[in-house]
C-alpha cells in the first residue's frame, strides 16, 4: 500500500529519480568491480600454480622468479643449469619435476618449452588437470606444439597447422627460426590462467632451433631435419639436443612435510649451483600483502564515491521536498501522520537504493567483462562471471541500509514541514 504510493510518487518524478539511480548505480558498480577484480586477480594468480609444491630456479628474487616463470611478468629470470635440474629429478623426495624454459614467442604469445610431463602434473584452478579441446597422439613429440585456448581464439590455428616461433619477444617479422616450423598437435581447453596464452613446445625442440647459437647470436638458421615431412616424428632424444640451461623447474614432492628441508637443501650455498626454491602460495601471499595498501586505497576511494552519490541522493530528496509540500499536505488531510510521511520518504530512499544496487550489479557484469578483456591482454588472466562474495552481498545490504538512513534527513524535514503545514495545500 505504502510502497505503491511511493512508487507512483516516484514515477511522477521519473527523470530526476532515474538520474539519481544511475549515479548511485555507477558508484555501486565501481565499488563492486574494484572488489571483484581484486578477488578475481587473486583467484586467477593462485589457480595458475596449483599442484606445484616448489618452483625451483636460479639464485635470485623469489617473487621475480615466480612472476616471470608462471605469469611471464617482469624481467627475465636468470637461467639454471640442466645438471641442476637432473639433480632435482634424482632427489628421493621429488615425486615429479617439470622443466620450464622461456624466452621465445610466437606473435607475442610466449613459448613455454617443457616436456609432456607438464600436461600430467601441472594443475590449474582448484587442482584441475589440463584438458585438451583437440589433440593428436604426438603432442610435444618432435616439433609438435600445443596451443593455449586464447592463442587459438586469437590466431585461429587448427590441428595440423604449421607455425614458426620468433626469437625472444620479437615481432612477427623475425625470421630467426623460419626453417624450423612446428606442427600444431594439441589445443588446450580454456583455464583462465596464463596457460591459455602459452605456446608449448618440447624443451629439446626448443634446444634444436637454437642449435649453433652463441648467446643471442643466431647460428646457421638452417634445419638439419630439412626434408622430413612429418616433423612430429623427428627424434630429438640424442645428446645434441639436451639443453644446457633452463629457466625453472616445477616440482611435486612425495611428502609435503619435507618441503622446507628440500628448499633448504637446494638453496645450500655449498651446492655446485645454489638455487632458489619458491613456495608459490606463500610467495603470492607476500605479493598480496605488498599490494594490500594499494588495494585498501582503491577500496576506500570507491567507498567514498558511493558516499558522495548517497549525498547526491539526499540532496535530491531535500531539494524536491519543497515541491512536494502539496503532495504531503494531501496525505496529511487524508489522515496520514507525520511519521507516515517520513516513512514514505525513507521508503523512497530504499527503493532508489535497491534499484541502484540492481542496476549496479548489471553494470558490474558489463564492467567485469570489459575489465576481463583488458586484464586478459596485460596479465593473461580471465575474470570469471560475476559471483558475489559474502562480503559483497553484505556491502550491498549496507548500501541499502545507509541509503535508508540518508533518507531519514529529508524524512525528518518532511515531518517538520508537515506539522507546520498541516492540511493546507495552498502554496
Amino acid at each position: 500500500m505504502m510502497l505503491g504510493l511511493t512508487l507512483r510518487s516516484m514515477l511522477g518524478r521519473k527523470v530526476s529519480i532515474a538520474l539519481t539511480v544511475v549515479t548511485l548505480a555507477l558508484s555501486v558498480a565501481l565499488f563492486l568491480t574494484v572488489e571483484r577484480m581484486r578477488i578475481a586477480v587473486q583467484e586467477s594468480f593462485d589457480g595458475s600454480v596449483s599442484g606445484v609444491d616448489v618452483l625451483v630456479g636460479a639464485r635470485g628474487s623469489e617473487l621475480s622468479l615466480l612472476l616471470y616463470t608462471v605469469f611471464q611478468i617482469g624481467d627475465a629470470a636468470p637461467s639454471m643449469r640442466w645438471t641442476s635440474f637432473e639433480e632435482v629429478v634424482q632427489d628421493d623426495r621429488v615425486d615429479w619435476a617439470v622443466p620450464i624454459s622461456l624466452g621465445d614467442s610466437h606473435r607475442r604469445y610466449r613459448v613455454i618449452a617443457t616436456t609432456s610431463d607438464y600436461f600430467e602434473h601441472v594443475r590449474v584452478g582448484r587442482n584441475r588437470p589440463l584438458a585438451f579441446r583437440a589433440k593428436t597422439d604426438s603432442l610435444l613429440r618432435g616439433f609438435g606444439v600445443v596451443l593455449g585456448a586464447e592463442v587459438v581464439r586469437a590466431l585461429g590455428y587448427q590441428i595440423g597447422d604449421a607455425l614458426t616461433i620468433q626469437h625472444g619477444l620479437a615481432s612477427a617479422g623475425d625470421e630467426s627460426h623460419k626453417h624450423q616450423p612446428f606442427i600444431v598437435t594439441g589445443i588446450l581447453e580454456a583455464t583462465g590462467t596464463p596457460v591459455d596464452y602459452g605456446v608449448l613446445v618440447h624443451i629439446r625442440a626448443f634446444e634444436a632451433i637454437h642449435e649453433g647459437w652463441t648467446g643471442s647470436v643466431p647460428g646457421t638458421g638452417l634445419d638439419r631435419h630439412e626434408g622430413i615431412t612429418d616433423r612430429t616424428a623427428i627424434d630429438l632424444s640424442g645428446p645434441d639436443f639436451e639443453p644446457s640451461l633452463l629457466t625453472a623447474v616445477y616440482v611435486g614432492l612425495k611428502s609435503k612435510r619435507r618441503i622446507f628441508q628440500f628448499i633448504e637443501d637446494i638453496e645450500d650455498r655449498d651446492r655446485s649451483e645454489p638455487l632458489t626454491g619458491v613456495l608459490p602460495g606463500i610467495t603470492l601471499s607476500q605479493l598480496w600483502l605488498l599490494l594490500a595498501t594499494a588495494e585498501s586505497a582503491m577500496l576506500l576511494f570507491s567507498v567514498l564515491i558511493v558516499l558522495v552519490a548517497l549525498a547526491g541522493q539526499m540532496t535530491l530528496l531535500v531539494a524536491t521536498l519543497d515541491l512536494r509540500r502539496r503532495e504531503i499536505a494531501i496525505y496529511r488531510a487524508m489522515g496520514a501522520q507525520p511519521i507516515t510521511v517520513a516513512v514514505l520518504l525513507v521508503l523512497e530512499s530504499m527503493v532508489i537504493s535497491v534499484c541502484a544496487a540492481g542496476l549496479g550489479l548489471v553494470l558490474t557484469l558489463l564492467g567485469t567483462l570489459t575489465a576481463g578483456q583488458v586484464l586478459g591482454g596485460f596479465l593473461k588472466l580471465e575474470l570469471s562471471a560475476v559471483t558475489l562474495s559474502a562480503g559483497q552481498v553484505q556491502a550491498l545490504l549496507a548500501f541499502v541500509v545507509v541509503s535508508a538512513v540518508t533518507g531519514l534527513i529529508p524524512a525528518f524535514m518532511a515531518y517538520r514541514t508537515s506539522l507546520q503545514d498541516g492540511m493546507r495545500a495552498r502554496f
Binding site: M334, R424, A425, R426
Partner: protein
C-alpha cells in the same frame, strides 16, 4: 442527533496578533454548515481546528465525542483520517496518479474507512461516487488526473472525500476555481452525494450566494472578531 463537533469559548492565536474567536459551535450529524467570510478572517484556521490539525489556544473543543485537549497528535490524525473527508480550494489531486488511484487515496490512511468499505467492493464504490458526481467512471477511471478539466478534477476530489463514508466533509472554498455555472452544479452534486452518505458538511466560502440551502451559516468578519452562528 449526534454532535460531531462542539466548541465553547474557542480561541486560537498566532504570533503576530492573529486571533480567531468562536464563542460556540456545534455541528450535528448530517448537518450542512457554511462558513462565510473574506480572506484573512480565519476560515481556513477554523477548518484546521475542526480537522484536528491545529489545537485551540484556549476553550473547549470536542471532535466526534473526543476532547481535543486529551488527544495526542497522532490520535487527532487518526480521528481526521477516520471521520473527515477533505476537499481543498484547489482540487489537489496527485498529478502522477490516475483518477481511480486518487479517489482510493481517501481510505489509504484510515483502517476504519477501509473497514466501512468491506461490504462494498472498492472499485464499485469508487465508480458509484464518480457517477454521483456526474462523472463518467468508465471513461475516466484510468486517466491520469492531470488530463482532466478543472471542473472534473474538483468533482473527483469530492468523490475522494466521500469514499469510506466519513461523518464530516470539510470543504475549503472548493468552488473558487470554478465558473458560476459549475459552482452551482458542483455544490448541488456535493450536497446530494453527502446527504446520500449521511455526512455532515462544513463548507467555507466567501460567496454569500452559495450559502443557500445550508442548515447553518457562520460569518467570520475580521480576525479577532467572533464567529457568529449558534
Amino acid at each position: 442527533m449526534t454532535v460531531l463537533v462542539s466548541a465553547t469559548d474557542l480561541l486560537f492565536e498566532r504570533p503576530g496578533g492573529f486571533a480567531l474567536s468562536v464563542p460556540s459551535l456545534a455541528i450535528e450529524a448530517g448537518e450542512a454548515v457554511a462558513v462565510l467570510g473574506a480572506s484573512g478572517t480565519g476560515k481556513s484556521t477554523l477548518l484546521d481546528l475542526v480537522g484536528g490539525v491545529l489545537r485551540p489556544t484556549s476553550g473547549a473543543l470536542a471532535l466526534f465525542g473526543h476532547d481535543v485537549a486529551q488527544l495526542s497528535n497522532s490520535a487527532l490524525d487518526r480521528l481526521r483520517g477516520d471521520h473527515v473527508g477533505v476537499i481543498f480550494q484547489e482540487h489537489n489531486l496527485l498529478p502522477f496518479a490516475t483518477v481511480r488511484q486518487n479517489v482510493a487515496l481517501g481510505v489509504q490512511f484510515s483502517a476504519a474507512r477501509r473497514r466501512h468499505l468491506r461490504a462494498t467492493a472498492l472499485e464499485d464504490e469508487i465508480e458509484r461516487l464518480l457517477d454521483a458526481m456526474d462523472l463518467d467512471a468508465a471513461e475516466l477511471l484510468r486517466r491520469p488526473a492531470h488530463t482532466l478539466s478543472v471542473g472534473q478534477r474538483q468533482r473527483v476530489a469530492a468523490a475522494r472525500a466521500l469514499l469510506g463514508a466519513p461523518s464530516l466533509i470539510i470543504a475549503d472554498e472548493p468552488t473558487s476555481a470554478l465558473d458560476e455555472g459549475n459552482q452551482t452544479r458542483f455544490l448541488a452534486l456535493l450536497q446530494e452525494a453527502r446527504k446520500a452518505s449521511g455526512a455532515a458538511l462544513l463548507f467555507v466560502t466567501h460567496d454569500p450566494r452559495l450559502t443557500n440551502g445550508f442548515d447553518q451559516v457562520i460569518t467570520l468578519d475580521t480576525p479577532s472578531l467572533e464567529g457568529k452562528g449558534l
